[in-house]
Subunit: 188 residues, 2 copies
């Protein structure tokens, strides 16, 4: 059940059995229905989430009321408004489920207790931050260097599951273009 998460941790840092049990003792599981919002703008992100199965989205709503997607997460990845989680300040982002999903979570307090208690957890966290940084780095690179059309083509080539599994509307807000523009790009 929580094996997916164990594997994920182990890929980043070796954890002995005892430590792993300690980590797992802090974990809560959640079944989330499609369209459920697990974090709203203005709320503090008090838990670290990991998505075992399903699909979730981290997004903003602009003052004009438009949804803009920062990140879409699929099975086997962390899903957290990290900035809010780290600082324990209100989030500017929403997180919701695009499909029925299975989540694990750890509270902020436990997360940081583990950090001091278990060196391999600290290593795991550091590696995760490094990966998150690198991912965002590429995202900025794409947004700054590519046109809408090029961003779509790159996504189609490198992450075809985004386009297969998500609605046009969500893909468009992820690419930072309008639904109509995306629809026109697709029909070529």
């Amino acid at each position: 059940m929580t094996d997916i998460f164990k594997d994920f941790i182990t890929q980043l840092a070796e954890v002995n059995k005892q430590d792993m049990n300690r980590i797992m003792s802090c974990i809560t599981t959640h079944e989330i229905k499609k369209n459920t919002i697990i974090l709203s703008q203005g709320e503090v992100c008090t838990r670290f989430y990991f998505l075992e199965k399903g699909c979730m989205r981290t997004y903003y709503i602009t003052k004009e009321g438009q949804e803009k997607t920062r990140l879409v997460s699929f099975d086997n990845s962390p899903v957290t408004a990290l900035t809010s989680f780290i600082t324990q300040k209100p989030s500017v982002e929403y997180i919701d489920a695009l499909e029925d999903s299975e989540l694990l979570s750890i509270s902020y307090d436990d997360f940081f207790i583990l950090l001091n208690e278990i060196p391999s957890w600290a290593l795991f966290y550091r590696k995760m931050l490094e990966l998150a940084f690198a991912f965002q780095n590429r995202r900025i690179e794409d947004l700054v260097t590519l046109s809408a059309k090029e961003r779509y083509e790159k996504l189609l080539k490198e992450q075809p599951h985004y386009i297969q599994r998500l609605s046009n509307r969500v893909v468009a807000t992820y690419l930072g273009i309008s639904q109509e523009t995306l629809s026109r790009l697709k029909s070529k």
Copy 2:
């Protein structure tokens, strides 16, 4: 001389005198002339840099030959192609000096030796990653939610030194717009 860096570290993590001396023993200083490139696309970033004084820029060159700026760093901030540094793989980014600058640096090997040797250095690194993540998060948010004009106005309001200290050309590549568009936005 290296006091600026010491202060920077101390703000993120408490370091005792002995550890600080150990850290400082790994440090090299550099005087960099304006327009010097310290890292090119395709090179591995083998040192972690910290900018004590001056101004440096991290940027890409697109296949059309256009410069696109990911980040501009002023006095008292880290300046490193972190993704390349962490993975020790070739960088996609260039780093150059926009002004005469004073840098410190630590080699990759020393950096990771310190990480295992000195817990407060590990904490410093973790906090730095957290800050870098949060910064990039905001950058993505701006790129995704704001128009060129709004990005310019936000920069003018929140980081006026960018506009005062940098050439139009650099500001434009940072905002992801053309020089001419920026010039027109300014004249309103």
